[in-house]
C-alpha cells in the first residue's frame, strides 16, 4: 500500500492525526483509502466493492473512486489530502461514482498544518446511483495561511440520498471559497450542512445550490458561520424548485462578534406550482435568552458564549 520512498510522509500524517485527535484507524488495511501528500499518492487501498484509481498530475492528484452496486461498507472510505510544506499549490480532482442500492460513507480530511502561503484547489464530482445513500464528511486541519477553493458537483439519481457535511471550525479559514451544487432526480434527497468559524481577517465565501429537478425530491441546505474580529463572510444559498412536489429548505445562521462583516443571501426560485421552498436566516449576536439562561447557572457571559458557539459548530 505504501511506497517505500514515501513512508516518512505517511508517518508524518499519522502523527498529525494523533495530535489532532483524528481517527487513526482509518489507516487500517480494511479501510478503502487514498492518501495524498502534495502531488504524490503515498497510499492507496481497495476493498471488495470499492475501486480507487489515482493518477499524479501537475501539482496534484486525480482520483476515480467507483463503488459497485449493492455495496454496504462497515468502514468509511478515507480520502486524505495532505500538504506538509509551508508554501505551494495543490490541485486534487475526485470523480466518485456510486452504483445502485449501495450505502457508503466518505471521510475526507484535508491536512495542511504548516501552511503559510498555500493554495488548495479541490474539484469533486459525485454521482449517487439509484436508491443509494452517501454520507460525505469533510474535516480540515489548517495552518495560518491556506487559500482554499473547493467546488463540488453532486448528482443524486432516483431514490438516492446524499448528505454532505463540511466543517472548518478548529483552525483558521483564512481564505475559503466553497461551492456545492446538488442536482436531485425524482424521490432523491439531499442534505448539506456547512460549519465555518472565521477569525482575524479571514474571508469566507460559501455558495450552496440545490436543484430540485425530480418529482418529490427533497433538499435541505444549512450553513452555520461564526464570524469574529475583522473577518468577512458571504453565504449564498440557492434552491430551485423544478419538479412536481419538490420541497426544499434553506437555513443560514451567522453569529457575529467584533467588527466582522457578514451577509447572507437566500435565493429561492420556483418553476413549478407544485414545488415548495422555505428559508430561515439569522445574523447577529448570540441569542440573549440563551446567554442569560446559562449565566443564571453561574457561567460568565464569555463562558456561556463559548458553550453556545461550541454547540453550534458541533465541536
Amino acid at each position: 500500500m505504501i511506497k517505500a520512498d514515501r513512508v516518512k510522509e505517511y508517518e508524518a500524517l499519522l502523527d498529525i492525526y494523533e495530535r489532532e485527535g483524528l481517527n487513526r484507524s482509518l489507516f487500517d488495511d480494511r479501510v478503502a483509502a487514498i492518501i495524498i501528500s502534495g502531488s504524490k499518492i503515498i497510499g492507496l487501498n481497495n476493498v471488495p466493492g470499492v475501486e480507487i484509481k489515482g493518477e499524479e498530475i501537475e501539482n496534484g492528484v486525480r482520483a476515480d473512486v467507483r463503488i459497485a452496486d449493492g455495496v454496504e461498507l462497515p468502514f468509511p472510505i478515507h480520502l486524505c489530502t495532505g500538504y506538509l510544506k509551508g508554501e505551494g499549490h495543490q490541485r486534487v480532482e475526485f470523480n466518485i461514482t456510486v452504483g445502485k442500492n449501495s450505502k457508503v460513507k466518505f471521510t475526507s480530511h484535508c491536512i495542511f498544518p504548516y501552511a503559510k502561503d498555500f493554495t488548495h484547489e479541490a474539484v469533486s464530482r459525485i454521482t449517487v446511483g439509484e436508491n443509494s445513500s452517501v454520507l460525505y464528511e469533510d474535516e480540515h486541519i489548517h495552518g495560518e495561511g491556506v487559500r482554499m477553493i473547493s467546488r463540488t458537483e453532486v448528482e443524486v439519481k432516483a431514490g438516492g440520498r446524499y448528505t454532505g457535511r463540511f466543517s472548518l471550525t478548529k483552525h483558521r479559514a483564512r481564505e475559503l471559497k466553497l461551492e456545492m451544487t446538488v442536482k436531485l432526480a425524482e424521490m432523491a434527497i439531499a442534505e448539506l450542512a456547512s460549519k465555518v468559524k472565521a477569525v482575524k481577517d479571514d474571508s469566507v465565501e460559501i455558495r450552496e445550490v440545490l436543484l430540485l429537478e425530480g418529482a418529490h425530491s427533497r433538499g435541505n441546505l444549512k450553513s452555520t458561520v461564526i464570524a469574529f474580529d475583522n473577518s468577512r463572510v458571504n453565504v449564498v444559498n440557492e434552491a430551485y424548485g423544478l419538479g412536481d412536489y419538490a420541497k426544499g429548505h434553506v437555513e443560514c445562521h451567522e453569529i457575529v462578534k467584533g467588527r466582522a462583516d457578514v451577509q447572507t443571501v437566500p435565493l429561492l426560485r420556483v418553476r413549478n406550482d407544485k414545488a415548495e421552498l422555505t428559508h430561515e436566516a439569522s445574523i447577529g449576536r448570540i441569542n440573549e435568552a440563551q446567554l442569560v439562561q446559562l449565566m443564571a447557572k453561574g457561567l460568565t457571559e464569555e463562558e456561556a458564549a463559548e458553550l453556545i458557539i461550541k454547540g453550534l459548530l458541533g465541536e
Binding site: 440563551q290 449565566m295 443564571a296 447557572k297 453561574g298 457561567l299 453556545i308
Partner: protein, 236 residues
C-alpha cells in the same frame, strides 16, 4: 434571606411594578400568584438580575445586590428556570446539565435528576436540546439542571406551563426534593393549585402586592377576588 424592598419598575413610561416588598426566608417555599400581566415574571427577572428595578432594592443576606449582574447573583446561590426555555443547537442534555463540564456531578446524579423530572436517562441524556425536543421536554431539562445545581434560591417561572397532566405531581416532587437539598423555591404562577403547594404566597395584581400570607389563605382570596376587582383597569 432574600428581600425586595419597595421595588418599582417602569418600562416605556408604563408602570409595571410599584412598591413591592417581599421577603423569602430560607427553608420555606413561596409562590407569587397573579393573573397574566400582573408583573410576576418581571419580579422573577429582577431577583435574578436580568432586569434592574427603576426604584427600590434587592437585598441578599442583608447586602444590597441591586446592581449585581446575573452571573454574580447565580454565584451567590440564586438561580432560575425561565417560563420559556430556549433551545441550544448542538448541545446535548448531559452537556447542558453539567454546564459543558464545569459543574462536577456524576452520571448517577444526572440520572436521578432527569428521572425525577420524568425524562428517562437512557432516552434523554445524549439528546440535543434543539427543536427535536418539545417545549415541555426542554422545560423538564431546565428543571433538572436546577436540581443538579442545588442553589440556595430557585425561581421557577410558571413551572407547569407547557407540561402535560403530570405537572402538578412534578411540582410537588420538585418542592420536596429542593427542600431536602436546602433550596428555597419561589414559584411564579397564575394557577392557584400550583400556588397552593407552597408554604407562603404573594398575590400580585397590576404590579401591586394585594395580599400575602399562608398559601391556602392567599389562594382562597385569589379565587374569590381575581377578575372582580378594578386593579387591572386602574393600572393601564
Amino acid at each position: 434571606m432574600l428581600c425586595l424592598r419597595n421595588v418599582g419598575y417602569v418600562r416605556d413610561g408604563r408602570r409595571i411594578l410599584q412598591g413591592i416588598n417581599m421577603t423569602f426566608r430560607e427553608g420555606m417555599s413561596y409562590s407569587i400568584l397573579g393573573p397574566n400581566g400582573a408583573g410576576k415574571s418581571t419580579i422573577a427577572r429582577i431577583i435574578m438580575g436580568e432586569l434592574k428595578p427603576t426604584s427600590g432594592q434587592v437585598l441578599f443576606d442583608g447586602s444590597d445586590i441591586t446592581e449585581l449582574g446575573v452571573t454574580e447573583r447565580a454565584r451567590l446561590g440564586i438561580s432560575m428556570a425561565w417560563q420559556y426555555f430556549t433551545d441550544y443547537e448542538g448541545i446535548r442534555v448531559r452537556e447542558y446539565l453539567t454546564l459543558g463540564g464545569k459543574l462536577k456531578v456524576g452520571e448517577d446524579e444526572i440520572r436521578e435528576a432527569l428521572e425525577l423530572v420524568g425524562l428517562p436517562y437512557e432516552l434523554y441524556a445524549g439528546r440535543f436540546i434543539d427543536k427535536t425536543l418539545s417545549g415541555g421536554e426542554r422545560k423538564r431539562v431546565e428543571l433538572a439542571s436546577l436540581l443538579l445545581l442545588k442553589p440556595r434560591y430557585a425561581i421557577l417561572d410558571e413551572p407547569d406551563s407547557g407540561l402535560d397532566i403530570t405537572a402538578g405531581e412534578l411540582v410537588e416532587e420538585l418542592l420536596d426534593r429542593f427542600k431536602k437539598a436546602g433550596t428555597t423555591v419561589i414559584i411564579i404562577t397564575h394557577h392557584e393549585e400550583i400556588a397552593g403547594k407552597t408554604d407562603f404566597a404573594y398575590f400580585l395584581c397590576a404590579g401591586r402586592l394585594v395580599k400575602k400570607g399562608f398559601s391556602r389563605e392567599v389562594v382562597d382570596y385569589y379565587r374569590r377576588t381575581c377578575g372582580r376587582c378594578l386593579f387591572v383597569e386602574g393600572s393601564s
